[in-house]
Symmetry: D2
Subunit: 343 residues, 4 copies
């Protein structure tokens, strides 16, 4: 059994990790910390876990975490980087679900996250935990930076095109939409149901932190800087991300359907739909799956990709468990075979 700790388990990513770990045959949850909820039973905060766990939140406690094989950080940005060095030194492996180690360029990170990085020496070592891109590196990693939700949906949709040099990379568009659980579980007027319900809007058009993260991934694959316009939107539903990606083709002769299918032939969590399909976010609700359709509408000089994930699963906790499986030599889909809840 893998002895697992969770730091900061009171948000939506935390409860989703708990749901998935409850069904995992080889992981044993040893400790879950929360400064605010210390002493409270986990199942009291999240009633869906009644009968699944007797654990209570504990105050942050390095000793208990150091006794774990693996610690997940489900904390706000800026927390993991202060605790990770100490845990690594004790031989604990880390998966950070926040953004602390996602961007290799310290300056870029500090500019977008508005603080000084507390562990810049680890930026080079941290592995960007998108298994479909970095499977081998994840398996060897001490420290995995679990990708952002939008970056997962966008990168998986663009990768086959960029890897094969098929599109003009100076004007890529990613128009993305997320359910409200992506905004987190903190009290705020903007996230009330009275504010978000029955309404749709774009946000962060001037710039969003996931833009440099996606640009880093795609630029590495491309071998040159790419130009990406990234606009996120808020959808009045709880779970799900859809990304619609646009790029000009510089080669219309390629069979994109076959290319996408081939690219992800060995990736059990990426599903390329039949030609003409439109993936629905509900088809992945609660499942660690990314479903993708590729189109070349009308004149055929533009490629349009639609990619869907559950932001809390393949976009966060599920991908983290997938990375854990790789790090500990388990089957990649161990504990992740849940069928999406439809309707």
């Amino acid at each position: 059994m893998i002895k697992v700790g969770i730091v900061g388990g009171t948000g939506y990513t935390g409860v989703e990790l708990l749901r998935l770990l409850a069904a995992h045959p080889f992981a044993e949850l040893a400790a879950i910390t929360s400064r605010a909820e210390a002493g409270r039973a986990v199942a009291d905060l999240f009633p869906n876990l009644r009968g699944e766990t007797d654990l209570a939140f504990i105050a942050p406690d390095p000793a208990q975490l150091k006794a774990c094989d693996l610690v997940f950080f489900a904390t706000p940005n800026g927390v993991a980087m202060t605790q990770v060095p100490g845990l690594l030194a004790e031989g604990v492996r880390i998966i950070d679900l926040a953004a602390d180690f996602r961007i290799a360029d310290r300056e870029v990170w500090e500019q977008w996250y508005g603080m000084e990085h507390a562990a810049p020496e680890l930026l080079a070592e941290a592995v960007y935990g998108l298994p479909e891109l970095n499977r081998e590196a994840v398996a060897e990693a001490r420290l995995v930076a679990n990708p952002g939700c939008y970056p997962t949906a966008v990168a998986l949709g663009f990768l086959p095109l960029i890897e094969n040099g098929l599109v003009v990379t100076d004007f890529l568009v990613a128009d993305t939409k997320s359910g409200v659980s992506g905004a987190g579980r903190s009290a705020s007027v903007a996230n009330l149901m009275g504010e978000m319900g029955e309404s749709f809007k774009a946000y962060a058009i001037p710039g969003h932190r996931h833009q440099p993260e996606i640009r880093q991934t795609l630029s590495r694959v491309s071998g040159q800087p790419i130009g990406l316009t990234f606009v996120p939107h808020l959808v009045p539903m709880i779970r799900g991300i859809e990304a619609t990606l646009y790029a000009r083709l510089n080669d219309r002769s390629v069979d994109l359907q076959a290319l996408f299918a081939e690219r992800y032939r060995h990736d059990c969590f990426v599903d390329i739909l039949a030609p003409g399909s439109h993936p629905e976010t509900r088809s992945v609700k609660g499942a660690n799956s990314c479903r993708i359709a590729v189109h070349t509408p009308l004149d055929g000089d533009v490629v349009v990709v639609s990619s869907v994930i559950d932001n809390l699963v393949k976009g966060a906790a599920g991908q983290a468990v997938q990375n854990m499986n790789l790090m500990f030599g388990l089957d990649e889909d161990c504990g992740l075979k849940q069928v999406a809840l439809l309707p």
Copy 2:
């Protein structure tokens, strides 16, 4: 009083027309027809109209319609074109809320709508009823083609850019999202709440009928063919359209905020938000308003416009009443001063 008839008032566009006309000081609803609901009280089908109207649906009846000053067609595509010539001959003016007269090129229309046009001789005369573009022509028109919902939101967002030649027009992207009332009020499994609720998806990526309509508008303004990739999406809410528009700027020096404000200075139903804003669909729910924000994110070589309307109001029935006001010499906002319902 303008004596008004409605043909086909049992859909969402129909009930919205009724709601607006009930508040209009100079319009008098004389007849409303429906083959399926003939004999049934309007307020029985639409309980929000209880106490507002005593009218019952009648079977289609040319005589009653010919006695009207104006007839709205809120029918499926292909119906208006068979009845309009006869009514025009009697001096009745027409606003068609369907697509029969929106596209001037008969071949293009027949290709997208999959039927032969029954009144091609009227295509040249029909005025495309986007008042912010064709105000004077609408005022003089016998036959107005009320624009589609997506085309209204997209055209109003792109117009200032295209009219001033500020963007590269061979790769425009319109990523649009609509509430489910846009899918109509016909029984179908796909439109059940069990199917649409808590889910988001793109649809019609290979091609949607609003693409040629938008392309026609923008190409006319541009003076040359434009390249437009148009992808609609379905949002799990009832009312509202948001269009996010992307284009490369060929001149970064222009003050786009000032340009948009100036362009719509005299248009009471177009509201340009302050720099940095993100319009929400709920800010126009039930109102005949289009709210727009213009951005140049990050590097500044791409312009992003976000434009919102209520698909049933400025995207359909409200715009139709706005056109009626122009045609009959009334104040453009007569009967259209409803404040949006928020929350």
Copy 3:
């Protein structure tokens, strides 16, 4: 013109008052106060009001309020009672949308609201502003206690039965359901869309403040204490209340349909539906209307009433404007003729 002030206009009741007053021909908004938002344009907080008002929130200012003919309090419970005496002394009339003056029995009020009453001398004078019950008293009132949202729906549904002594009054059941706007616009985890969306629950079963308010109304009408079990529920939608009321009939021979119709024959905002109907909350969305159906299912010894209102309109701001109309001798429906938004 009635010169109107609003104290505390940043909640959902406040924005709804503003929407309705914007359409009122004889009310002029002179001042709106908010400690937290002083200096901010009202239309900046509530974008649906862009173009409707140039007013900005001001800090609480007795001088400006004293210059008004009427002041609405849309404040949390406990605020109005501290300011009302001073305003009354200046001849200003008051409509309190909070609970400060709803319960005549000071002890009961203090027990349920957990504070000492600051103006108990006004409790006897305050008129409970349910026009369908107290129309004449409202017209004469200096101080009107605008009823709670649930109490409005429940009282209108029970009144005809209690007034006529038709039901056993020691075991009345009111099972009520409200959209989330009833929970207000304050930041709290419980009211996030991630918490409230796609879920339904009862709350406050041990006791809710609206129970003594309803009991007071019905006991007065009955002439004896009534036994009422009141359970509210939260519905994942924004606006609307439905109340399902249950009581045993002690006389099965009465024509309840006729009785209800007769009871509300002169009440323009109460609509008794045809036999066999089921009112939908959407049929009153945005409208100052209460729609009611009365049934005697199966064996016929139990009466079931279903009553719907928009909690922000007939359940709050609309009823307040209705009361204002009565107080100033206007037509009762002046400025309140909005048709409900459906769909």
Copy 4:
């Protein structure tokens, strides 16, 4: 392995059965029939099942069903009763998720379902499949009538009270609320999202088929006829039922909390919440669980129970699998350990 057949798997109950059976270690889906969808891949209709099953729908085929150990009927009412006798004769065991065998009294059944019963000789044999009431009988049954969704939530909430004679049984009230998936997956205007979204209403107040089903269960337990007023409502969400139950206590001295806990001590799928709790439907979304809270508000002479289930799981497919487990000697929770999806 249990060889399983499903008749009529194209509705929401069908897809949920498929989701649960995909995770069941001892059930093997051998055949699924649908007249309308014969030949179509199951995963094509329900994209959440992509990768889970290669099965296609087949036309109804007695031979394939007779080769099964167990056949589930997920058909409209009136279908199972025509096919069950033939299958039983071949030794196939049956779980009918429709209503054909739920009511033992043929006359009552025929009155409520409006057709002649085709297999009345089986009504006495059929076991009402509420395991918490009839566990032993289910284990021995050839034919199980899977309870309705509302009856499951209501019966589990009332049972401890009725079994112990604690309440006055001539005036029980069950005010119940269901998500829209309970209305099924057939095309109809009434079930469109444009009709159901953002609205709440009661329906079937004059009488609903689940009333006699619940009355039968409670009357049997009570040993005498009970008087039940049952009103269902429609909630704008997809999954979930909440039932609020009201009864007068005839003995206030009993510790109801302890009584409920004791009653369900050995029932792994019934969870009695702590005193003062209010169960949320989301706490059981996707899980085969019923969570219950019991209250005695205010004066203490009335008991109020709130009971929640997922209508498609404990209210249909999950309970069916629970019954299958009992019939085949498996652990009752085999394949049913899914944690509810929250948020």
